[in-house]
């Protein structure tokens, strides 16, 4: 995982985030997130976290529960405690024994799985496609 010093975002257990969550740098989620997550850095979802969101990030390590579509530009690591439902796309995928995945998996990431739900997230996708 890349490190970016003081720019890291942490959502602790008990804190709930709703909306288009745009993060510059890395993010660690131990609480709840509903909406979309767009991180320019790496994403880490803890074992007690609950995420109902479309996700875009550089690398990701998932240990908790995620519902939504996920697009990871580089490596996605699904730990044994993780539960995922939705469509996912990643360049490299690692699945631990016991991890639950329900949905489609696309490797190589030639095109996005689906545009993210939020306005900002959709704008980010549109910008990238235009490039």
């Amino acid at each position: 995982m890349a490190k970016n010093g003081g720019g890291e975002t942490i959502v602790a257990r008990g804190v709930r985030v709703e909306g288009d969550f745009v993060v510059e740098g890395n993010i660690v989620i131990e609480g709840e997130v509903h909406g979309t997550i767009n991180a320019t850095g790496d994403l880490q979802i803890g074992p007690e976290a609950k995420v109902d969101a479309d996700i875009r990030a550089e690398n990701a390590v998932i240990a908790g529960e995620v519902h939504g579509n996920m697009r990871i530009n580089a490596k996605l690591d699904m730990l044994p405690s993780s539960k995922f439902s939705g469509d996912l796309a990643a360049e490299i995928l690692s699945i631990g024994a016991g991890a639950q995945i329900n949905g489609t998996i696309r490797m190589g990431v030639e095109e996005p799985v689906k545009p993210a739900r939020g306005k900002r997230a959709a704008a980010v996708v549109a910008e990238e496609e235009a490039e």
């Binding site: 003081g6 890291e8 959502v11």
Partner: protein, 245 residues
């Protein structure tokens, strides 16, 4: 042109020698300028603003953190360079900016290492260091795009420039503030502190009742709603090499 303003407490006889030493050193370094003494019945902010209007290019606050806070407020949106000569041993700003206490600070002033630093604003009131409050069931709306709901009691801090700790280092030149939320949880294994951290440019803090928000460790604002934003690179400060950023 340097313009110095002395806080009222420096008129006390116990500071006579320190002030004399300071003035001698400033003269030796060739950076002596106009001296204005703040007085009990004169509005300090107005006095400092008058100095800026009269063309002071470098304002130097001589006193303690309260004096420096006044100067930050008075400088506002002008491009006036701000210096600090701390005369009190307990100075948070001096430690953060790497400025020693007393006469030694004159050398930092003379070296004139000017840095453009962000300032924060809460309900129209500027701050350099941090905001702190204790709130319950607070909601924070960030960048008009997402909200954070913080159930139960929490200690909320908004930092611009702070000492490094478990929440990491804050960079007062990145154009953002850091929201730090601390919550205590009790379990069979004892008390555990949970830390949330989020950089932002603009946020609104809503609380269910009036809370005291401490600005830069001093003045307190009492409200149920706080509008907070970062103003990038607004303050031009003379800092020392030992600064904490």
């Amino acid at each position: 042109m340097y313009s110095y303003f002395y806080d009222t407490f420096l008129q006390d006889r116990k500071y006579e020698r320190d002030v004399a030493l300071l003035e001698t050193r400033l003269t030796d370094l060739g950076i002596m300028g106009k001296i204005t003494r703040l007085a009990l019945f004169r509005d300090g902010l107005e006095v400092i603003r008058d100095e800026i209007e009269e063309g002071a290019q470098t304002l130097v606050a001589v006193g303690d953190d309260a004096t420096f806070r006044k100067a930050i407020e008075a400088v506002g949106d002008t491009r006036t360079v701000l210096g600090y000569l701390p005369m009190s041993n307990k100075s948070v700003f001096a430690d953060l900016l790497g400025i020693p206490t007393g006469v030694a600070a004159c050398d930092i002033l003379s070296a004139r290492l000017v840095q453009e630093i962000d300032v924060g604003e809460v309900n129209g009131r500027r701050f350099l260091h941090a905001l702190e409050c204790e709130a319950s069931d607070a909601v924070v709306s960030c960048e008009d795009s997402f909200t954070l709901t913080i159930p139960g009691k929490a200690s909320i801090a908004i930092r611009n420039l702070a000492f490094p700790d478990d929440a990491g280092v804050t960079d007062p030149t990145d154009g953002r503030l850091s929201l730090i939320i601390r919550q205590s949880r009790f379990s069979l294994f004892g008390k555990k502190s949970e830390l949330s951290k989020l950089p932002f440019k603009r946020a609104h803090v809503f609380t269910d009742r009036h809370v005291n928000m401490f600005v830069d460790g001093g003045e307190k604002l009492q409200a149920k709603e706080f509008d907070i934003r970062a103003i990038p690179g607004r303050l031009r400060l003379i800092t020392g090499k030992g600064r904490k950023f």
